[in-house]
């Protein structure tokens, strides 16, 4: 697949806050791959980003969908602009048709994707203007649809809302990454065929077939399959909602944390807060490091208690002394030579005899055997490396220090004036609630979507209930199926029941044909996925090396989502800071481009939002190192935070604003390009405008 895709233009017509505004990429300069749009806070940057994410994937919006965020996005899209506040400048009759569009260069041809909203913003339909034709639906070239159609996670990956970055790297979990790779390689369609279309066809044939079993049996299994279908729909809906809720909760948590930071930073106690926060961060880092150390120590068998370790050591010492594998091999080959016939059946000639003797001399102890010998020697000499009790005491002391640092922060909070104190208490409470909500959502998502056999069985009581019978067999009773809360296990139940139904219907042969096709498809999916994981891991790492990652973070693996490992190759982690997460996304996008010839744009909304100064440098480095089309959407105060990126020669700036913001006399939104307006534009009053949430 070859796809080269660039954004040429974005247009807003009577949506969010805009009247009729067009922004064009590379309008005024020749910086080939980078533009920055400045809009004051609350104008509609994040809403625009969400529209782009969905427009690329062909997802129409409807209040009725109940899908992720549809209602929220449509609500935010409703035009407020000059009709808002107490003195509206225009009335409804002056408004045009609400539309949002993006014009793209796709493999050298121009396509425009439109969202056309109805009058009450309850739906947004997609239209497409191709190079020669107009379609009142989503119609993009195959290379584009293969990558994007129905692939919201990919869109979210490259059109980054930093509100959801840096907190657990949910965007890199197994489901997202596997789906992404399978979509990019166009094998997701095989999975859908083997899990949905093929079973459906077989069931339809079974319904019509001449039965070999009884009508009662047939009715029972048909009803059981209906329950499976119902439970599957229920779990999928819950999963989709939970993913949406999780994104919202992560974003809310980040906003809340930022508000707490601002509230503390604006108080008279700022200096004391800075000091206390610094102490708390140091204590937190120590707890993290000691936790990692204790984990590594526990994982090293040399540190096992003597009662457990010494029998193992004795056994290996005995092996090392007696070199049993070598002795057995010698004995075996000796017997072969003595018998005079090789394993292949050929008579052993003097030349072969000599050769085997040479091999016995040289090879015994080489290869696998030598590894066994090394292992035996290592175990024989092994001595405890760490005192786990001591590490535990250290960790406990560091947790105490962290508690003290948190108490000091709380003491400062209590010295604030009553209004600030109330706000802080409220925000603190909200933070705890959101934290608990995120934990619960992650647990639920894992329960519904986990496909790891071991994990599922470990949690079978809660996740599967009565739907797993003794001997780990799928249950058949309708009430029992209802207990199932895991989609992977539900699929096993469905397979089992389908087989039973095929047997009753006397169509086992067709069912077997379905198995043959499904097995081939599954093999292709697995192989392609593994190849992509391996290739993209290597390529992403190569690109990642140019980003300035903390602790020399590198990709550890991609088969369980993206896991990172630090420079010492000891600590695997799945989370990262916002800067690190941006670097990983950029490296992955570059790796995809260099590995499977797919070049796509990236947009980053509010790249610095909520970041401390220590993290800004990382983000700036990441932006500077990215080689593909990159569009930043920033608000006023972000300008000064990226001085080495937001500068001539690095990016082309533009500002979307109202030239007059005086109430009752506000002018329509316009876009102006160039450094003069970018540097001089100052929003009146607060950076956040009033009319948009």
């Amino acid at each position: 697949m070859t796809l080269s895709c660039k954004i040429k233009r974005i247009s807003w017509e009577w949506v969010i806050n805009f009247e009729n505004v067009v922004w064009e990429f590379n309008k005024t300069s020749n910086v080939p791959n980078s533009d920055t749009i400045l809009m004051r806070n609350g104008t509609g940057k994040t809403t625009s980003l969400k529209l782009l994410q969905r427009l690329f994937t062909g997802q129409e919006l409807s209040m009725q969908n109940g899908g992720e965020d549809d209602a929220g996005i449509l609500k935010r899209c409703e035009y407020k602009g000059l009709r808002a506040v107490s003195a509206p400048e225009i009335d409804d009759s002056e408004m045009g048709t609400p539309r949002f569009s993006v014009t793209l260069d796709v493999n050298g041809e121009e396509y425009t994707l439109f969202y056309v909203f109805d009058e009450i913003f309850s739906t947004a339909k997609i239209h497409t203007q191709g190079p020669g034709e107009f379609y009142d639906y989503y119609k993009m070239p195959d290379e584009f649809t293969t990558a994007f159609e129905g692939n919201l996670e990919f869109s979210k990956l490259i059109f980054v809302d930093t509100q959801t970055a840096g907190l657990g790297m949910e965007r890199f979990n197994k489901q997202v990454i596997d789906d992404l790779f399978m979509s990019l390689s166009n094998v997701k369609v095989l999975r859908s065929a083997r899990t949905t279309s093929i079973p459906q066809i077989i069931e339809e044939v079974a319904d019509k077939a001449k039965r070999s079993g009884s009508a009662k049996e047939m009715e029972a299994v048909t009803q059981q399959l209906k329950v499976v279908k119902r439970v599957k729909e229920k779990l999928e809906t819950k999963l989709e909602k939970a993913n949406g809720d999780l994104e919202t909760a992560i974003s809310d948590l980040k906003t809340t944390t930022e508000k707490i930071k601002i509230l503390r930073g604006q108080s008279k106690l700022k200096i004391k807060y800075d000091k206390a926060l610094k102490a708390r961060n140091i204590a937190k880092q120590r707890v993290t490091n000691s936790t990692k150390d204790i984990l590594v120590a526990i994982g090293d068998p040399q540190n096992l208690p003597e009662s457990l370790w010494y029998p193992v050591k004795d056994y290996y010492a005995l092996l090392a002394d007696q070199r049993i594998p070598e002795a057995i091999a010698r004995e075996y080959l000796g017997a072969v030579i003595e018998g005079g016939i090789c394993i292949c059946g050929e008579k052993i000639s003097p030349k072969m005899d000599k050769c085997i003797h040479e091999k016995m001399e040289k090879s015994m102890g080489a290869g696998v055997l030598s590894e066994v010998h090394v292992l035996k020697d290592l175990v024989k000499k092994a001595t405890p490396r760490a005192d786990i009790k001591e590490l535990k005491n250290l960790l406990e002391a560091e947790i105490d220090s962290l508690d003290t640092a948190n108490t000091q922060l709380s003491a400062l909070d209590s010295q604030l004036d009553s209004d600030s104190k109330d706000s802080l208490e409220e925000l603190g409470g909200l933070k705890v609630t959101l934290g608990a909500q995120i934990t619960k959502l992650n647990e639920d998502i894992l329960m519904w979507s986990c496909s790891d056999d071991g994990t599922i069985k470990t949690n079978k009581k809660k996740w599967l209930g009565r739907s797993m019978k003794s001997g780990d067999k799928p249950a058949e009773g309708r009430g029992m199926i209802d207990d199932c809360k895991n989609l992977y296990w539900l699929e096993q139940i469905r397979k089992h029941l389908s087989k039973k139904k095929a047997k009753i219907a006397g169509i086992q042969a067709l069912d077997r044909a379905g198995d043959v096709i499904s097995a081939v498809f599954e093999h292709v999916e697995k192989l392609v996925l593994e190849s992509l994981q391996s290739k993209l891991k290597m390529e992403t790492d190569k690109h990642l090396s140019k980003y300035n990652m903390q602790n020399e973070l590198r990709i550890h693996s991609m088969d369980q989502g993206i896991k990172m490992v630090d420079g010492s190759n000891r600590f695997v982690q799945s989370g990262g800071s916002t800067g690190e997460e941006l670097s990983i996304i950029m490296s992955l996008v570059e790796a995809i481009s260099s590995s499977i010839d797919l070049t796509v744009p990236m947009i980053i909304d509010n790249p610095t939002k909520g970041l401390g100064e220590d993290k800004l440098e990382g983000v700036e480095n990441s932006l500077n190192s990215f080689n593909h089309q990159l569009i930043l959407m920033i608000y006023d105060t972000e300008r000064r935070l990226l001085p080495n990126y937001l500068t001539e020669g690095k990016t082309d700036p533009a500002v979307a604003f109202r030239e007059s913001e005086e109430k009752g006399k506000r002018s329509p939104y316009v876009v102006r390009y160039g450094w003069d307006i970018f540097n001089s534009y100052t929003p009146k009053g607060s950076d956040r405008i009033e009319e948009v949430d």
Binding site: N186, V189, V520, S594
Partner: protein, 70 residues
């Protein structure tokens, strides 16, 4: 440039290779392998019409019967 092209992963080739590899391991006949290859290709190319998948199932069914796989 040539070097760069070599770096690009040929997914279509990989898919074809993996179908053949699987069929060889399962000792499927050449015609069954061809049928499955064709199905995978059409599936990925979005070239299947309504009812085509059912026809493929029937064809695979009769072929595995003829090949003595059931």
């Amino acid at each position: 440039m040539q070097g760069m092209e070599d770096e690009i992963m040929e997914i279509d080739e990989l898919v074809e290779k993996s179908v053949i590899e699987y069929c060889e391991n399962e000792e499927y006949s050449e015609r069954l392998t061809k049928l499955l290859l064709n199905l995978v290709k059409k599936m990925r190319g979005n070239e299947l019409e309504s009812g085509d998948l059912g026809d493929y199932l029937t064809n695979v069914n009769s072929m595995i019967e003829k090949d003595g796989l059931i």
